[in-house]
């Protein structure tokens, strides 16, 4: 089990789903907070739902408020970077670039990318934590 969880983690890193920040979180985990990482990740996914939704709503607006979109995406990016969600962060940056160019279509496409990476990460981390819990 432990080996499995370790290898899962390795893969996540290898595929850029996670980055160094995730390690930082794991280092914070201690006996007093044995599930710290999982708690933080859960908090992230819970909280970012509303951010994602806000972006969706903002994108549906006509005309598009790029300032607000950029702001919202900045929040998503900040949040995801704090847990080490590398791919999600990358997609957020792409979105912000399109925002700067005021390219609404580009934004919409990039947003799809964000949502996709976000969903994928969630699935993978859920699985990872499950294994990790069983391993401990």
């Amino acid at each position: 089990m432990q080996r499995q969880s370790a290898s899962m983690k390795r893969n996540l890193f290898h595929q850029d789903y996670l980055d160094e920040q995730f390690n930082e979180l794991e280092e914070l985990q201690d006996d007093d907070n044995p599930n710290f990482v999982e708690e933080v990740v859960n908090l992230f996914f819970t909280d970012s739902v509303r951010l994602i939704r806000n972006v969706d709503l903002a994108l549906a607006n006509e005309p598009c408020d790029f300032g607000r979109l950029d702001d919202l995406m900045h929040q998503v990016k900040g949040s995801s970077s704090s847990i080490g969600a590398k791919r999600v962060k990358r997609e957020c940056s792409k979105f912000q670039e399109y925002c700067n160019e005021r390219n609404i279509d580009g934004c919409k496409r990039a947003f799809q990318g964000v949502k996709q990476e976000y969903a994928t990460l969630k699935t993978k981390l859920d699985a990872y934590f499950q294994v990790a819990r069983e391993a401990s």
Binding site: S48, H74, S79
Partner: protein
Amino acid sequence: MNLGVGSVVKTMSGASCSVSWKSGGSDKVSDQFPAGLRVLVVDDDPTCLMILEKMLRNCHYEVTKSNRAEHALSMLRENRNGFDIVISDVHMPDMDGFKLLEHVGLEMDLPVIMMSADDSKDVVMKGVTHGACDYLIKPVRIEALKNIWQHVIRKKKHELKDKDFDQSTSVEDGDQQQKPPEDVDYSSSANEGSWKSSKRRKEEDETEERDDLSTSKKPRVVWSVELHQQFVQAVNQLGIDKAVPKKILELMNVPGLTRENVASHLQKYRLYLRRLSGVSQHQNGLNNSFMGHPEATYGTMTSFNGLELQALAATGQLPAQSLATLQAAALGRSATKSAISMPLVDQRNLFSFENPKLRFSEGQQQLNNSNKQINLLHGIPTTMEPKQLADLHQSSQSFVAMNMQGNARMQQNNALLMHMSQQQQQSSRAQMLNETNNGQVSRPPLSMSQPAAVLSRNSIVDNVRGPIYNPVSQTSSMVDFSLNQTTELQNNSFPLVSSNSGMSTLTSKRLLLEEVNSDIKGSRGFPPGYDIFEELQQQKTPDWGLPNIGSNFGASDHSSIPGTLDVSPSMLVQQGISSMKKNGLNGNSPIGGPQLNLFSGGNLLPVKAEQLPDTSYQNTFFPEQFGQDDLMSALLKQQESVGQVETEFGFDGYSPLDNLPV
């Protein structure tokens, strides 16, 4: 390190009050410093907040978290000594992180670290100009947090140096200066504790004034209103570009002040000025925020005319009658634009900064001398004659008569907000008195001038300029804040710049004040007193640190009055009054409230916005302390005795307030 020092890690999600160790904490952790460092972390992102909290706790810091800037600010205000350092995100929905930064810097003078996922140069630069002591890029790593204690020490050390001045009149200098080095022994936090306590001890040893001055619980150097006024005046005289610490020091001629003190203060001031010039005025914002500021007991600086009066009245500072009078007068009068520099009550006087006996009159003189027009006491109703009051009032602030004394003219013209800042020259005051002898203004007996911010709104108009201002200008730091007013208060700017030049300054200031007034309203928690000075001083729309406040100040082209003006007059008044009482009529209590450390060169003025609860705040106004009614009566008395002013007050040296019948 273990947390065994008893640090309580408080984690809150924005709702509870933080329990802080206060200074006790530092003593406790002395052996384990930086363990136990009390950190307040503010971020709207719950994920980040949770991570940061954990990281900080792992560093053995005492952590309080908040996801709302407003809440964090109120926690800080409630518990000024409860935190050592603040970490804040830049982008937050309820308040811009930089605004929070400014507030904290101005009011509490705590080191603030900004953080953001945004690493663009502009944003980082903004952090620098606003006075952040560091900027972290998210995601933040624990390594970056391990060393944040250095900012705390650095700041304390800096303050300690500045404090030398405050604490010592002359003798202690040497001792004090030696202290910092000793105290700053970072290797052991014991030093920190002892440093603080020794500082305190020193304070206690000092004369009353000093004690009062350093009443603040924190061992930070406080640039009192009066002191700052002197500083600003000196800088104005030299010209901001040519103002070098050495010359400023000479001009200020304050015993015990070192060049280093001035240098660091100047640096901050410059930052502040720079910021102001780049900040748009938030006219209304200031006022609003100002009003909202919990500590702004000054009473919002809302439209001076009506609101202020009302506020004043409400605060009891302004007797209803006066209020009515003022209002009536104000309505009837158009504020002449003269730059009336109400003699700022010498803060010193109020707080017995250096001379316990400084009376109001003295303070006023000094105020007059200093050019600062500080709209210290917004709400302080001056006991000016109705007519005069009206004048003053244009901005509707009755200014504590104290200052008014000298400024008969000022009163005439408009409500002058006199900031009871340090008065620099009694002579000017004397002159002012002379002027007022015209009968225009019945100067309120000096006794009035108790610290309570004699804020006379100087809507002194040009006419005043002539006669009165000459003298006034010399001394006055008239706080001419008619900040709230959009009118003529023109004198907002530091009135008095030495003798005639003051007039022009006043005028400009006035404008500033007007603008400021509007701004002030919005200002939030503008640290009282100090800000005012600053504002008055020169900045255009002082956005001094105070998010709202500064910007509005004197939006007009003139020197924007530092956000300080925002302090609602009433606040000032209150403070002044209270301080007066406390200090036994020191006379000029410059805008009370937090020590006027406000001047934020950059954004944050080292204002110790601490409201000293009961101590004689010499530097601060604590409204509660003084009976505003008393102040009012004093003012009234003073006014009546205009003619006698000279004799009474001994304008050549204002008779100590003590003598003034209160």
